[in-house]
């Protein structure tokens, strides 16, 4: 080998060793690579990065609600023992929370926990039946895993931060981003009026769309399984693995809510229902054999309409609670 070619080979060898690889951990559940797992890996590359001067920044309050992307800092002026920050995005968003800088005393009892969902009065959204992860995996504690895994991603458009800081002067900064979710399942609506189409593409899961207002729901189109499935129409909702139910209640947990209506057959053409509860949920149960789709609109029930409903019904389940 001539001197120059050897030198070139050596140079090539040097530059190859200087390259650094990035190892990623892909969360594989049940020993299969799910499309969600691959998609989340891809979406992290496609995250749009705003230039520095356009990043929204503000201070965080002990009780706060955040619907805007940006960087949020909490500084404890006095000991704050029970703080919670709610994050909410559009229905087709998922939330990414990244710890930028944290100055807390983990050993002194301080903590920052991210919860995948919302918890209110002990009730969780999405319920344990509707969420893919077991409950303990939905809490991620900064003091345990935050340093090694600074980015937490939610599975739906809502997430929460719980924190406790004992010493004044402790602080932390988080960056909140919204990422696109092509098949939203489990949504909390930001508004009392709107429309949505929920699609479950051949997945065995249950999805809930929660509207925390008393609303009238108008279902425009429901497509469950195949269109001309005569055998299924005989079974009814109880035997069917694919159906849509309308729930009403006064808490966040969909498993503790009262069923207002069950829809087991595909149909076209509006069907409406008024639900006078604090929380109205459209829930789709899917067996995984078919692509199921439901389109609906909702509008806020006025005060007069609510009064009329109270007058008409002998026993209103929502008023009872």
């Amino acid at each position: 080998m001539s001197g120059t070619s050897r030198a070139q080979l050596c140079f090539l060898l040097l530059s190859v060793t200087a390259l650094r690889g990035h190892a990623r951990f892909l969360d594989i559940q049940d020993n299969e690579i799910s499309p969600e797992g691959l998609l989340s890996l891809l979406s992290s590359e496609l995250k749009r990065e705003l230039p520095e001067e356009f990043v929204y920044r503000r201070a965080l309050r002990c009780l706060d609600m955040v619907a805007i992307e940006g960087q949020f800092t909490f500084t404890a002026e006095r000991p704050q023992l029970n703080c919670a920050v709610f994050f909410i995005g559009e229905p087709s968003d998922i939330i990414s929370i990244e710890y930028d800088s944290v100055n807390i005393d983990c050993r002194g009892g301080d903590f920052i926990k991210v919860f995948d969902g919302w918890v209110m009065k002990g009730e969780k959204f999405p319920s344990t039946q509707d969420h893919l992860l077991p409950l303990y995996e939905r809490y991620s504690d900064y003091c345990e895993t935050g340093v090694s895994r600074p980015i937490t991603r939610s599975s739906q458009n809502v997430a929460m931060l719980f924190f406790r800081l004992h010493q004044s002067g402790s602080s932390f900064t988080v960056t909140f981003r919204k990422l696109i979710n092509p098949f939203p399942c489990n949504v909390v609506s930001q508004t009392p009026e709107g429309s949505f189409t929920m699609v479950i593409p051949q997945q065995h899961r249950n999805c809930s769309f929660s509207i925390i207002y008393p609303v009238e729901i108008q279902i425009g189109e429901l497509s469950l399984g195949q269109h001309n499935d005569l055998k299924r129409s005989i079974l009814g909702c109880a035997g069917s693995g694919d159906f849509v139910e309308l729930l009403g209640g006064n808490g966040m947990d969909t498993s503790k809510m009262f069923p207002m209506a069950d829809l087991c057959y595909s149909f076209n053409g509006p069907a409406q229902m008024k639900v006078g509860c604090d929380n109205t949920v459209v829930r789709m149960v899917s067996s995984g054999k078919f692509v199921n789709r439901v389109s609906f609109r909702y509008r806020l029930l006025g005060h007069q309409e609510l009064q009329q409903m109270k007058g008409n019904s002998v026993e209103d389940v929502c008023l009872r609670a």
Partner: protein, 145 residues
């Protein structure tokens, strides 16, 4: 020194200073959590049943059910980590006491009415729309230049 042995030396130094892939995997907390759960089960009788203790119990029960369902496969996966963690018992005991200290505190949930939640969402939406308008204005100013 000849160039080739020098290159080989540099190569070996660079390769050995690479971060090994194993550190990119998340820390396996399963064994530590098992010890914590044992401690919590014995302590649960002493203290008032806090929400967090309840959650940890639920976690313990769920994992036990999960382990039974998975059968022998799950056990095989846990055995190697059990052997790895035994030298670090002191560390985990420390973490255990910290965790039980946190456990004495009030539960992790928040008592909010829907009315308050709705108002908070509306305020957050207003903030979002205001800032989005501001951002749009900035973008247009940039484009206009």
């Amino acid at each position: 020194m000849k160039p080739v042995p020098l290159v080989l030396l540099i190569t070996s130094v660079l390769l050995t200073t690479h971060i090994p892939l194993s550190t990119c995997r998340p820390r396996d907390l399963s064994l530590m959590s098992n010890q914590l759960d044992d401690a919590l089960l014995t302590r649960a009788g002493d203290d008032a049943m806090s929400y967090l203790v309840g959650e940890k119990l639920l976690q313990y029960l769920q994992r036990n059910v999960g382990a039974q369902k998975a059968g022998g496969v799950l056990h095989l996966q846990h055995f190697p980590t059990a052997r790895l963690r035994s030298p670090h018992e002191d560390n985990s005991l420390e973490e255990l006491t910290e965790f039980s200290k946190r456990n004495d505190d009030p539960p992790i949930s928040i008592d909010l009415t829907f009315h308050l939640l709705r108002n908070m969402i509306e305020m957050a939406r207003n903030e979002n729309q205001r800032e989005q308008a501001e951002l749009n204005r900035k973008y247009l100013d940039e484009v206009g230049k």
